[in-house]
């Protein structure tokens, strides 16, 4: 079985303006959402307390909310988590001291006991993150992202050329903004695990971009007299089968993770699914055209080429 019996000949570069418009629209939408409604930071970053409990029977959320209402926890989210027996209670950071935040767990468990009898409710998971730590994690996350980009920029500049490095990093920034925008638009909870996923998206997208770039470099040597548009098209087409097969196998695994991996891993898988699709798109439609745009000499050549073909027509 093969996707393409022979190397395909799609004119990807010809669609670069369309792709650019699509990317700009998506980036603007993402940034717009990030700026207006922001990210739904989980307690890893915002600070606060998270309590996951399991009842011995399916539980409606209304009685749970009612039971914990007298504790006056302030901003509280109560939601089902994975199964109808599992309930997640998220208490936002409050003006209270660390000690007061700590006491929340005991109060909540005491309030929930009457709902299900003494052994009917089990504490499955507690996470408490003090405000100070949350801030540090945010800072560390941002720094990690920044340093990763710089390191990549340096590595690709050395292995390829500066314009490839710039193209790859631009594609990465594109992917990160879209993935964060995706989280902002859906208001999914943004946690440490999601950050790990985001960085994996960076890794995956980069992987894809490098494979295409490697081919562009190779075709540049082979097709010395051809315009850069043809070279890039050739490279993208020749790596297309690989790009699709790899995306497919990765997506297969991610789908298994998404549907079967359990609630804790759910958002991680979702981020990666979105990221793999975006990363694949960006390596073809963002990273590759950028190499064309970032090269003044070649760009002139294309203009001449276009001129020549017009005159010919």
């Amino acid at each position: 079985m093969q996707i393409f019996g022979k190397a395909p000949h799609f004119n990807f570069i010809g669609k670069r303006k369309l792709a650019m418009i699509a990317s700009i629209v998506m980036v603007v939408l993402s940034l717009g959402s990030l700026l207006t409604q922001g990210l739904n930071f989980g307690i890893d970053f915002a600070g606060g307390t998270l309590i996951q409990v399991r009842f011995d029977k399916a539980m409606d959320l209304a009685p749970v909310r009612k039971a914990i209402a007298p504790i006056e926890l302030g901003d509280t989210v109560v939601q089902s988590f994975g199964a109808p027996e599992e309930v997640l209670i998220r208490v936002e950071k409050q003006g209270k001291s660390n000690e007061a935040q700590q006491a929340i767990v005991n109060d909540v468990m005491a309030a929930l006991k009457p709902l299900a009898g003494d052994n009917g409710v089990e504490m499955r998971r507690v996470e408490f993150v003090g405000p100070q730590v949350g801030e540090e994690l945010t800072e560390k996350g941002m720094l990690a992202m920044l340093y990763a980009m710089i390191a990549i920029l340096i590595y690709i500049s050395i292995r390829f050329e500066l314009r490839f490095a710039l193209g790859a990093v631009a594609a990465l920034v594109h992917d990160v903004i879209l993935t964060m925008g995706f989280f902002s638009i859906l208001q999914k909870e943004f946690t440490l695990v999601v950050v790990a996923a985001l960085l994996t998206v960076v890794g995956y997208s980069l992987n894809d971009t490098i494979v295409v770039y490697d081919r562009i470099r190779e075709e540049m040597k082979r097709m010395k007299r051809q315009p850069l548009t043809n070279i890039i098209n050739e490279a993208v087409n020749r790596t297309l089968a690989r790009t699709l097969v790899t995306s497919l196998t990765t997506i297969l695994v991610l789908l298994a993770l998404f549907f079967l991996g359990g609630a804790v891993i759910h958002d991680f898988a979702l981020t990666l699914l979105f990221g793999v699709v975006i990363g694949t798109y960006s390596s073809i439609f963002v990273a590759s055209p950028l190499v064309l745009w970032l090269d003044p000499a070649k760009r002139k050549k294309i203009a001449d080429e276009a001129e020549a073909s017009k005159e010919g027509a």
């Binding site: 994996t200 980069l206 298994a256």
Partner: protein, 526 residues
């Protein structure tokens, strides 16, 4: 394709057998590993096996304050020994003690004596007010802070050992933080109470002359403190009784040699303590001098009890009563034995995972790995036929190498780590795909099968290298800046990437070469 050296094949076989040997124990799990096998299994993170993770901040400034407070005693002793009169000695701010002398006293001599006694502090003399200021030096304060953290770690370790947790981990993080990880702890609240309690024990005499009513109005004698004693039965009906005690601590918990739970005549649990030699002598002296007075036993600023001294107590034993449950008494004995924390601890971050959730996570994680893996395996065989089988072999070897390295390095596998491994399955295939697509291309160009294989591997090599190294860079940075589970993810990802490069580039080629050797291949199954 030229004849390959034999060692390559042997190396591949060795790696394959070795990794199966080391990976199997982790697959078999806990109790049922045959004795001839490696006993190293993959260490599961707290999110997988359940347990408690705590990040503490050591309030080191409190230790500095305490050190300054100790200077008050030292200065008082010096002045008393010299029979100097003084108007007052008091702590000002966190790190300074001011001694106000009388105009007649021999200030210059006192300054030099105090300098002698407290070398680590700056001793300044202010002439007109006849004041001596003792300030802790910067270096000394830094030393105190560092000692407070190291000492806290030591004490936490002793407490946890006495509590009985298997494989606890206590680490210093940064300058003043401590990470405590307790796998399998089922009662996180109790563990927290045990670790975080300062357990500073002071014996102070009750100021019998003071007027309690006036003290409650805020007029406490300068040498005394208003404290509260908690009395009464269980939760709810506990009541607080005020008490005026002398500020000076006559004996402190640092002289405790041992502490145990026992029962009093009403069969209530109490904690009996035994002092060391110095403590015992002091205790007998104090009790001898203050018969019929009350001695307050103060734990972390709260009066536990204030029994009337009936007689001089020799032998260095005392008991602490209070309305304890057995558990409380037991835990109090542990913390008293292990000693007081030099500074209070504050929890900055806490994560606890119940054992059932951990088990569910593992089951679900492994199930999704298995299913995802099977999907990929089926797809590869359908798509690349014989070469697909080869790739599958490589991916399985890849997983087994990953497990081996995790087990041997004793790295911790976390939930995101499992996710990372699942993702790697998908990505490990990529290296093979790159090579196979190249071989197909070469075949289309009309190359002979063997030449196509050679070119395929050759040309894909640099791509694989570049692609994997860049991903590795992100993994390393992730490790550097990440914490906890994210780190676990980065470790798994890095190891997996290295393993996948080895299997895809080296192993498949060696196996392939062995397969096509001595055969005149006309057509490749790809």
């Amino acid at each position: 394709m030229r004849q390959q050296p034999r060692w390559k094949l042997y190396l591949v076989l060795l790696v394959a057998l070795g990794s199966i040997y080391y990976a199997l124990p982790s697959i078999l799990g806990g109790g049922n590993i045959p004795s001839w096998m490696s006993q190293k299994v993959i260490h599961q993170g707290l999110d997988l096996q359940g347990g408690l993770y705590l990040l503490y901040d050591v309030k080191v400034e409190e230790a500095v304050k305490q050190a300054a407070n100790n200077m008050v005693d030292t200065a008082r002793n010096v002045l008393r020994k010299e029979r100097q009169r003084y108007r007052g000695i008091e702590q000002v701010g966190a790190d300074r003690v001011v001694v106000r002398l009388t105009p007649k006293s021999d200030a210059p001599r006192m300054v030099s004596l105090l300098k002698e006694e407290m070398r680590e502090s700056d001793v300044e003399h202010f002439q007109p007010e006849a004041q001596i200021r003792l300030t802790l030096g910067e270096a000394e304060k830094e030393e105190i802070r560092k000692y407070a953290v190291d000492q806290a770690i030591e004490i936490i370790r002793n407490r946890i050992d006495a509590f009985g947790v298997s494989e606890p981990s206590i680490q210093k993080q940064g300058k003043r933080r401590i990470i405590v990880q307790l796998p399998g702890v089922e009662n996180p609240e109790r563990a927290k109470g045990l670790i975080g309690r300062t357990a500073r024990l002071d014996f102070k005499l009750v100021n019998e002359k003071a007027d309690l009513g006036r003290a409650l109005e805020g007029r406490v004698p300068p040498d005394s403190l208003l404290m509260y004693e908690e009395r009464g039965g269980r939760e709810g009906d506990k009541q607080e009784y005020p008490l005026v005690v002398l500020k000076r601590t006559v004996l402190s918990g640092q002289h405790i040699q041992n502490a145990q739970t026992t029962f009093n005549e009403y069969n209530e649990p109490i904690v009996s303590i035994k002092f060391d030699g110095v403590g015992g002598r002091k205790f007998s002296q104090i009790t001898g001098e203050h018969i019929k007075e009350r001695l307050a036993i103060v734990l972390d600023g709260k009066v536990q009890s204030a029994p009337v001294i009936q007689d001089k107590i020799a032998g260095g034993r005392a008991t602490i009563s209070g309305s304890f449950t057995r558990e409380e008494a037991h835990d109090l004995a542990i913390v008293l034995r292990a000693g007081a924390l030099p500074a209070p601890l504050v929890i900055l971050e806490e994560r606890s995972v119940g054992p059932t959730l951990g088990a569910d996570s593992v089951a679900q994680g492994l199930e999704s790995i298995l299913i995802g893996g099977v999907l990929v395996i089926v797809f590869m065989v359908l798509y690349y036929k014989g070469f697909g089988l080869l790739a599958n072999l490589a991916v399985m070897l890849n997983v087994s190498i990953l497990m081996t390295l995790l087990a041997v390095m004793q790295a911790t596998l976390t939930l995101p780590g499992i996710a990372g491994a699942v993702l790697l399955l998908g990505m490990a295939v990529d290296a093979n795909v790159l090579i196979f697509e190249r071989i197909r291309e070469e075949l289309r160009l009309g190359k002979s099968p063997l030449a196509a294989i050679d070119h395929g591997y050759g040309k894909a090599f640099s791509t694989i290298l570049d692609a994997n190294i860049t991903t590795l860079i992100t993994a390393v940075i992730l490790y550097q800046f990440g914490t906890g589970p994210v780190r676990g993810f980065a470790v798994t990802l890095s190891i997996g990437l290295l393993a996948s490069m080895f299997t895809a580039i080296f192993v498949t080629r060696v196996v392939l070469a062995e397969f096509v050797k001595n055969r005149r291949i006309k057509k490749l199954s790809i």
